[in-house]
């Protein structure tokens, strides 16, 4: 089994390195085949591991010692347990699909080989992240996916910067940097968490740490919990570190599908789920997580309502769904969070890939106001995206229905009715914006004919075929909820609904389904027959507020980025040059100046010299008189 672990882990790396060899050469299909093939291998290995773990429980392997200093020993240790196995399968599944999809999507891109190299490298990092048996290993993966994300968001690095009016993300490279830097802020907190663990437990291994939790003080656990969660907030783009995710849509769409929907952004959720013994001990923090998640869910959904950018809408919906996951995890329903994570991965990836098809067809036009009526040209894509949107909206029997409803039930069950209510509202909003997007894109008049010079056409068949597994999973995954629960709860706490909740569960389901359906209906009413722009509404304060993402990016720009730059400039020009350096030079100058002044005593006139001797004698008298009187 150990070999399977290594195969699952290193196959993507091999693929990545192989592709890297061709990174600077023109497009070569072999890179795509090799990487995709190896990913498939990894998927097979992961799936077998899943099976194995189901039967035999956790597998642990220790590859080698990584860092050892003082009392600290960090190994490259991997363990595959239920959580990991689920994550591995999700990751490999989505990434295999995305790889294959990319063969079509990146067909004409100059950086074709490079793209596959990056993509596989990402998968490798993600695998490390989920497979590591200690926090340091997790951190490797954590940072690794960060870098790959940076590389992939900035994949089209050659694009120039534009002003935020034209493109709120400025440029791919700008967005990439933003993503990296924001993530780093969170990583710092995570590091602090790791340090706290080390100095109080003496080891970074999950097992050791979890075993030690009962003996640790609560305040300490709270600190660790907060620190780790801040880390998770960065990676999962929770408020207030969420801005990067929307900007990350600058990357190629497969990247958005894989990284910014299905896998990397869920790493935060994974962390919370993974650290469930910790969070179980600190209910206050958990509750905060739940509230924050809830807030983000509605917050992001609200922004999605008005956005015109196809990918950004999906990005906000991802954000919103991540909020759901955190809400579940925060409420203690870890397996539910994990289940929603998996389900979301499938349908969201599908949605993104569909969006990629649309983009392709529209020559990279993303404004849904400029589309419409695309269903004629792109039936398959329409089908996929509709399906995925239904799943997202939580319509029976699609995967989203099961997972989302369970979360709502949990919220209800925990008597956190506010959470339930907000999430319930959000479910409605979700349904509305998803279908607003679907209808604006595919239904109604063919606005693109006027607005653009695109000639939309369906993508290659193999691409559609490649997307099929995701579609299938999006449909059927919900039915695996019970086996999933059984499997996951082998190591996660089994969350059971109270009797009461059980009884009214069907009411909740109906209520939820109702709001989702009404959302869809509303969207249909408004948009299915073409776009009617409501100037008044678009100029209203709330609309503007939402469109500008509550002015948060602007706020960050104006109150953090710009002042930072200005302070830096001041520090350099004013402080470092004019104070610190000038002091040093000033001392030198004073010495030099004194020399210049005192050389004046050397007048060249003997008479003055003789007088100096007299002065000297006088000086001696004064010195001695002083020292005599002092002593």
């Amino acid at each position: 089994m150990e070999n399977l672990v290594y195969i699952a882990l290193f196959a993507p790396l091999v693929g990545s390195l192989f592709a890297a060899l061709f990174a600077m050469t023109p497009k070569n299909l072999i890179t795509a085949f090799v990487t995709s093939g190896l990913l498939f291998v990894s998927w097979v290995a992961s799936s077998s591991l899943l099976m194995y773990v189901m039967d035999h429980g956790t597998i642990s392997v220790n590859m080698m010692e990584w860092i050892a200093a003082g009392n600290l020993t960090i190994d490259f240790g991997f363990q595959v347990d239920a959580i990991t196995a689920v994550m591995m399968v999700v990751v490999t599944t989505v990434s295999t699909v995305v790889h294959v999809y990319s063969i079509g999507y990146m067909e004409h891109d100059k950086g074709f080989n490079r793209f596959f190299s990056y993509l596989s490298a990402f998968v490798f990092s993600m695998m490390i992240l989920v497979m590591s048996d200690n926090f340091a290993g997790l951190f490797i993966g954590w940072e690794g996916v960060g870098v790959c994300s940076w590389l992939l968001i900035g994949f089209w690095y050659h694009k120039a910067d534009v002003s935020t009016d034209v493109n709120p993300s400025i440029s791919p490279s700008w967005a990439a940097n933003e993503a990296f830097i924001v993530n780093r802020i969170a990583d710092l907190a995570m590091l602090i968490g790791i340090f706290l663990i080390y100095w109080n437990v003496g080891s970074l291994n999950y097992d050791v740490f979890f075993a030690a939790i009962p003996s640790l003080e609560n305040s300490l656990l709270v600190s660790i919990g907060i620190a780790l969660f801040i880390g998770a907030m960065g990676k999962s783009a929770q408020f207030p570190l969420h801005t990067w995710l929307a900007d990350a849509m600058e990357g190629p769409t497969p990247v958005s599908a894989l990284i910014h929907a299905a896998t990397m952004v869920t790493a935060g959720v994974y962390l919370v789920v993974r650290a469930n013994p910790l969070y179980a001990e600190i209910p206050n923090v958990s509750l905060f997580i739940a509230y924050l998640g809830t807030f983000v869910a509605i917050f992001a959904a609200s922004m999605a309502l008005v956005n015109r950018d196809l990918k950004r809408i999906i990005a906000y919906s991802t954000l919103s769904q991540l909020g759901y996951m955190f809400a579940a995890a925060g409420l203690g329903a870890y397996w539910v969070a994990l289940f929603h994570l998996a389900a979301h991965a499938f349908f969201k990836a599908l949605l993104f890939l569909g969006a990629g098809n649309v983009m392709h067809a529209m020559h990279d036009e993303l404004d849904i106001f400029k589309m419409g009526g695309l269903k004629k040209a792109m039936r398959g894509t329409y089908l996929y995206m509709g399906l995925a949107s239904l799943a997202l909206a939580g319509i029976f029997p699609l995967a989203g229905f099961f997972s989302k409803d369970t979360i709502l039930e949990v919220a209800f069950n925990e008597h956190t009715y506010i959470i339930w209510f907000v999430l319930w509202i959000t479910a409605g909003l979700t349904a509305f914006y998803s279908f607003r997007q679907v209808f604006l894109t595919f239904d109604g008049d063919e606005r693109y004919k006027k607005e653009t010079d695109a000639h939309p056409h369906e993508v290659q068949n193999f691409v559609l075929v490649a997307m099929a597994p995701l579609a299938i999973l999006a449909i059927i995954f919900g039915f695996f909820m019970n086996p999933f629960k059984e499997f996951a709860t082998t190591i996660l706490p089994a969350y059971e609904m109270s009797e009461h909740t059980h009884h009214i569960a069907w009411i909740l389901i109906i209520v939820t389904t109702l709001i989702a359906v009404s959302g869809i209906v509303l969207a249909y009413k408004k948009y299915a027959n073409g776009l009617v722009r409501d100037e008044k509404m678009e100029n209203s304060f709330i609309y503007k507020l939402l469109q500008n993402q509550y002015y948060i990016p602007k706020f960050y720009m104006e109150f953090i980025a710009k002042p930072y730059k200005e302070i830096s400039d001041i520090l350099w020009n004013k402080v470092d040059m004019k104070v610190v350096d000038a002091t040093v030079d000033g001392i030198a100058k004073i010495i030099y100046f004194t020399g210049d002044k005192s050389r004046k005593m050397q007048t060249g006139n003997l008479s003055d010299y003789l007088n100096w001797m007299g002065v000297g004698a006088m000086l001696l008298i004064v010195i001695t008189a002083l020292s005599m009187s002092l002593s």
Binding site: N611, G614, V615, A617, M618, I621
Partner: protein, 188 residues
Amino acid sequence: MEQIAFYLFSVLTIGLFLVTVLSNNVLYAMTSLAAGMVLISGFFFLLGADFLGVVQLVVYVGAVMALYSFGMMFFDATKDIKEKNTSSYLVFFLSGMIALTLVIMFSAPIMGENIIASYPIMAGATNPQAVGLVLFTKYLVPFEVAAVMLLVAMISGIILAGKKMDDSLTTKDENHEEDDTFSRKDIK
């Protein structure tokens, strides 16, 4: 008697030397210097240092003054020398302060009670005899060194005042008249 002589001589010496340092006329200065020297020999006689007094007269009034006279004639310094004595306040302040310090110092009970003379003035001998005795035993080496010093002074005087100094080899360009065999051979 001794007191009268001391004070008289003191006042005179001080006066004469003041003339020496303050007068703008070189002739006055020199004359008063010579006179002061004579008076100083008077002090020597007063103090029983007869030999020293005589040497003082011979060397100073005889030799040194003669040299200065020659020098003065050479430099044609009889004409009034215009000196720009700037910063005289400083000069007088410094000298005054130093004088004051010295006076304070010397007002102290300098005279030691228990000091045993290393080279006592012998009872039976005249001063020149006693001086001679010490000079040619204990101080023979300094005496000889003084001789060397005078030789050095003589050589120096001759060289410096000599004709050879008129033409400087140091500044003479010798591009066409290279130095003798040695350097030509060894120049790199």
